[in-house]
Amino acid sequence: MKRWPYWVLGFWLVVVACSLLYDMQPDAISLEQVLAPPGKSTLLGTDDLGRNIAVRLAAGAGVSMLVALAVTAVTLTLGTMIGLLSGYCGGWVDRLLMQVTDVFLAFPGILLAIAFAAVLGPGLDNLLLALCMTSWVGYARLTRAQALSLRQRQHVQAAQSLGASAGRIMRKHMLPLLAAPLVVEATYSIAGLVIAEASLSFLGLGIQAPHASWGSMLRDGVRYLLVAPHYVLAVGISLMSVVLAVNVLGDQLRDAWDVRRAKD
């Protein structure tokens, strides 16, 4: 029972793999069966253009996964580097970098990503860019806080007195100790990114038609909420299952590794 997040995420991985291996034509329009409820021919019914919702969900899952993993990879690297630099160097470098993160944190939630995506224009590449520009801050703050205390550790000071370079100390003596909290933070942020991608696409700022994305599907679903509630329900439950699974996974990792979640 405790393993259910793995089962849920495993299920979606298989779904994405299938949609990559077989071209199930998520964009194929069939005007004979517009907004058809779930039935024999289509597992979860069809959307406003008669497209198969289940197939489009699979394609959208792929987009969500791509966005979440790509943005996490970029921002984890960038944020950790900035945080290490800030925490290890201290002084004016630290003050400047933290001032910058303060400004980014002054924009609540997804507002800054919305603003960036709005001026950059729609599309997958701009969506990725907007999310990368706003998601590194959490990692930077977390790493800096940890680096500040790690700097005082004996093994780091021993390495310093042996003449190890700053880069070597950060890489070999600090980074391994940062891995656990960073992985926990990254897990939570994957859930956040799945929501963020869907939010931007929901607002029409992310993935553009005809490509499927959970956010744009929800947007269409809300439009036809009164006539075809199965549309919204299918997408919403899928999204919720992923977010819930990833969050619970994060809780489990945190408890197992005894990491106190950094408060921002």
Binding site: Q99, V100, D102, V103, A106, F107, P108, G109, I110, L111, L112, I114, A115, F116, A118, V119, L120, G121, A191, I195, A198, S199, F202, L203, G204, L205, G215, L218, R219, G221, V222, L225, L226, P229, V232, L233, V235, G236, L239, M240, V243, L244, N247, V248
Partner: protein, 303 residues
């Protein structure tokens, strides 16, 4: 306290700089993007001059700050109305929505958290935890339609969307409030559990004070401190959440204005909305910190 006030200055400056630079992030010529490629050259030149885009960047920023200091956000490209008036028109809708959501969140989150803490390990605790975990996994654009289906379509109790009918505020406020309630429940539970082990709670019980008073008068007062911080921080995400929620429910507030301006490529309006929301967040955080100092005698006397 003065230090905290001064600390806000560079943040506000940074926020203004970043939002000012937004328009310059537009790929290509922002004037062309806003007016469309077919716009006459004269119109473009006029807009360029109006937005000050023909001046050097630092000078533009100075003008931008000066205008903001006078409460002047410029004019909308689309409707030609002063943006300050548009914001003033929309502000009450967003403020009342956020306030209702906050009331719902506190009214739901605090009692649930207290019950969960007092019944730790029992089914009430499990239920509250499950509820808050599920609600926090439901973004507004999914919770909103779900509530619409439930209350408006299947039960037929409340209007689906819009602002004109009475009770129209309930569903968007619930959508915004539930997410915050989920966080508050978890926070209250954790905070109260920590406090319940303290000496002063044992003393209060030993004095023979009623259990209800021990919890509400003694334990909750101490447990409230971290909760105040969370409410302050989350009030900001509530503001950001209005962007999506107002779009879902057709609620004519600042958030909806922001989305409309993005759709019309009316960048000065976009810029103004972002500035207003971000600065409100900065002010709310500042007030929360000041309130915290007032509430906690340990911090108050240490300063």
């Amino acid at each position: 306290m003065i230090r905290r006030l001064l600390g806000v200055v560079p943040v506000v400056f940074g926020v203004l700089l970043l939002t000012f630079l937004l328009v310059h992030l537009v790929p290509g010529d922002p004037v062309e993007v806003m007016l469309g490629e077919s716009a006459p050259v004269a119109d473009r030149a006029k807009l360029r001059a109006e937005l000050g885009l023909d001046q050097p960047l630092p000078l533009q920023f100075v003008h931008y700050l000066k205008a903001l200091a006078h409460g002047d956000f410029g004019r909308s490209i689309h409707s030609r109305k002063p943006i300050a008036d548009m914001l003033r028109e929309r502000l009450p809708a967003t403020a009342s929505l956020a306030l209702c959501a906050l009331v719902i969140a506190v009214g739901l989150g605090l009692p649930l958290g207290i019950i969960a803490a007092l019944r730790q390990g029992k089914w009430q605790d499990g239920l509250a935890t499950l509820l808050s975990l599920t609600l926090s996994a439901m973004p507004h654009f999914w919770l909103g339609p779900l509530l619409m289906l439930l209350f408006a379509l299947w039960l037929g109790l409340l209007p689906v969307s819009g602002m004109s009918e009475p009770g129209a505020i309930i569903l968007p406020a619930l959508t915004l409030g539930f997410g915050l309630a989920a966080i508050l429940t978890r926070m209250t539970r954790a905070s109260l559990l920590e406090v319940l082990n303290e000496d002063f709670v044992r003393t209060a019980r030993a004095k023979g004070i009623e259990e209800r008073k021990v919890i509400l008068r003694h334990a909750m007062r101490a447990a409230l401190l971290p909760i105040v911080t969370v409410v302050g921080l989350q009030l900001g995400s509530l503001l950001a959440g209005t962007v999506i929620t107002e779009t879902v429910f057709g609620w004519e507030g600042i958030g909806r204005l922001l989305v409309e301006s993005i759709e019309k490529r009316d960048y000065p309006v976009t810029q103004a909305c972002v500035v207003v929301i971000a600065l409100s967040y900065v002010v709310i955080n500042l007030l929360t910190d000041l309130l915290y100092v007032r509430l906690d005698p340990r911090v108050r006397f240490a300063v």
